[in-house]
């Protein structure tokens, strides 16, 4: 299954791109020192300078190297992205799976909580929470994103858990006397891994974009550099008006690339899971066509 996953063009592209940014995030500082760049250093000789050999992506209004900032920003954005997605997915599992598995009063209660979070006006609440908490470091941003973004996933997992627990093999293990705890973790949860992975990737996109959005609106760690803070700084300095495109295009492009990569991986996995989807059936149709051509009979399609 894994082999055919990687053979899929979309998935391969997505994995490569996402992998690239993950590595960039992990080894950021090493890359920076290897290239001799510093994201915070102000090069007064080159203020708002367009891309040049010394500064391949130009400089900001404060003379900071954009390339260096992008690399440093990868760290910030990816960190928030992964942590936010992880927190959101974790809460979705903890709330959604028991809701679907147990049903009844427990299920209804958990469902009720899920629904509340679903209809909450997220943005105003984030501002309230952020304003209340002194200092919004990256970790706090990730937690906020996770805490406000789990509801959709929980709903899906509830439905899936409900359908799995009604299948014969779960009933059969229950008949053997398996306790609920083991049933959930050993029999039901493994069937949800696909959904959970998909949720995590979706959460990743969402979290990276949410971070950028929040930073743009001013809710961010003032000392950290991320793609979002870059875009925010660019906007504050009226980069658009001044034509300093090299300041906000690279970080925006990176966010878009990460989002696209994660989405492509998701599509690819979806195709594998559901052979009825167009691309999968296109492969089947191609195979059928080659068998038909070799056949002794000219069956008209």
């Amino acid at each position: 299954m894994r082999a055919s996953l990687l053979r899929n063009g979309k998935v391969l592209f997505g994995v490569v791109v996402l992998g690239f940014f993950v590595l960039l995030a992990l080894f950021g500082p090493m890359v920076l020192s290897a290239l001799g760049l510093d994201a915070r250093a102000n090069d007064i000789s080159a203020i708002a300078a367009p891309p040049s050999p010394e500064h391949p992506l130009g400089t900001t209004q404060f003379g900071q190297d954009v390339l260096a900032q992008v690399i440093e920003g990868a760290r910030g954005s990816m960190f928030v992205g992964f942590l936010g997605a992880a927190i959101g997915t974790a809460i979705a599992i903890v709330v959604g799976v028991p809701a679907g598995y147990f049903g009844g009063t427990t299920g209804n209660l958990l469902n009720f909580v899920t629904n509340i979070f679903l209809v909450m006006p997220v943005l105003p609440l984030i501002f309230v929470v952020a304003g209340y908490l002194q200092g919004t470091g990256l970790v706090m941003i990730a937690i906020i994103i996770g805490v406000f973004g789990w509801a959709g996933g929980a709903r899906t997992l509830r439905a899936q858990a409900m359908s799995v627990r009604n299948r014969d093999f779960v009933q059969a293990m229950r008949m053997l006397g398996e306790p609920h705890r083991r049933l959930i973790f050993v029999e039901v949860l493994p069937h949800l891994y696909g959904w959970i992975a998909s949720m995590f990737l979706g959460g990743l996109i969402g979290a990276v974009m949410a971070e950028a959005g929040l930073a743009f609106l001013g809710v961010s760690d003032s000392s950290a550099i991320s793609w979002g803070t870059m875009i925010q700084a660019a906007q504050q300095q009226s980069a658009v008006l001044r034509g300093l495109w090299w300041w906000f295009v690279p970080p925006g492009l990176c966010i878009a690339l990460v989002g696209t990569a994660a989405a492509l991986i998701n599509f690819g996995v979806d195709e594998l899971a559901n052979p009825k989807l167009r691309a999968a059936s296109r492969r089947v149709a191609k195979r059928t066509e080659s068998v038909r051509r070799e056949a002794a009979v000219a069956e008209r399609a």
Partner: protein, 354 residues
């Protein structure tokens, strides 16, 4: 006759379902069932869909609780299953599902399934002991070499092999009662007999009490000792298999037997004789609003006034053989043997319509 190991006494189960726009309806799935399972004997429960036979199996397996009535295990009534009592019940009574492709988790090997069953009911066995037991179990159900099968995933096994694994898993807990809910109906025809022979061997070797649920009377006759016929949630006839099949004492039983394909019957019969009279045979009633009195009366060519109003009592028509039919109360039981039930029912229903 030995003491029954599991019995249902007056068991009734009603389900509440939503029936559009907030209204609630009650499905009278099974009504006042009394039956006994004796060690070493196979009891077949025969009926069509909607007869309540699957609900009965689930009640006996303690899937859910009866609305009223008692279930007795080894003479003692069982209350709501909780904790140790529940585990003890599960050890005594096991259920085999109909679908061999769904009863095993596709993500786990055979080894996992059997091992869990052993561990749950035989605490404190060492790993090698459990492995030895698992091998023994697979050998009992003729899945050899056992070591090969232990490592396989369900999708690598055929339907018959999966069902054997399911049986082995059930046997791992060393039950006294095995409930089979149509255990062979989803298997290929040529391997069904093997499975029935296996069940037969197991009950002889272990003295199991077997409940075999099916819609196929011929297979019931092959395996069982006693037959119970269910219709619309009630038992209409029960007794030793030869008595019930050769000389049915309830109109529905007779209709069922006549409708079952039997190529071994008089081969000189023309196709039109076999099928000709079956034009309008009716359908089982809705369980939400079942007919009053005898639930078969709308289709029954012998229906009398009391059949429409009062539920018939169980009347003994032979040793260990009883039928719930008013005909026997008024001395008209012999009329059942007379004509073709198919012809009678069909004529009865077509006359009603026209």
């Amino acid at each position: 006759m030995t003491e029954p190991v599991l019995e249902a006494v007056g068991v009734t189960k009603h389900f509440t379902v939503a029936s559009g726009l907030g209204a609630k309806a009650t499905v009278h799935a099974v009504e006042d069932i009394t039956l006994q399972l004796v060690p070493g004997r196979v009891t077949a429960v025969v009926g069509e869909s909607g007869s309540g036979k699957t609900t009965l199996a689930r009640l006996l397996a303690r899937f859910y609780e009866p609305t009223s009535g008692t279930i007795r295990l080894e003479g003692r009534p069982v209350g709501r299953p909780r904790g140790d009592a529940e585990l003890a019940y599960r050890k005594a009574v096991q259920l085999i599902f109909q679908d061999p492709f769904g009863s095993l988790n596709p993500l786990h090997r055979v080894r996992h399934n059997i091992d869990r069953a052993i561990r749950l009911h035989h605490r404190g066995l060492s790993r090698s002991d459990r492995l030895a037991r698992a091998r023994e179990l697979l050998e009992r159900v003729a899945l050899t070499p056992a070591d090969d099968y232990l490592e396989k995933f369900p999708h690598e096994l055929s339907g018959g092999q999966r069902q054997r694994v399911v049986i082995a898993r059930a046997l791992a807990v060393e039950p006294r009662v095995l409930l089979g809910d149509e255990p062979i109906s989803m298997l290929d025809v040529s391997i069904r007999l093997e499975m029935l022979n296996l069940l037969d061997r197991l009950r002889r070797e272990d003295g199991l009490a077997l409940l075999y649920i099916t819609h196929d009377i011929a297979s019931a006759r092959y395996l069982c000792d006693d037959i119970v016929v269910m219709y619309a949630g009630r038992i209409v006839e029960a007794g030793p298999k030869e008595a019930v099949i050769a000389d049915p004492q309830h109109p529905y039983t007779k209709l069922l037997i006549e409708s079952s394909p039997d190529p071994h019957r008089d081969v000189e019969l023309d196709r039109d004789d076999v099928f000709g009279s079956a034009d309008e045979l009716g359908e089982p009633p809705s369980l939400i609003d079942p007919p009053a009195g005898c639930r078969f009366h709308p289709r029954c060519p012998f229906a009398m006034e009391q059949c429409r109003t009062t539920r018939p009592p169980r009347i003994e028509v032979g040793p260990g053989h009883g039928a719930d039919c008013w005909l026997h109360d008024v001395g008209r039981g012999h009329e059942l043997a007379a004509a073709s039930m198919t012809r009678l029912v069909s004529r009865n229903l077509t006359e009603e319509v026209s």
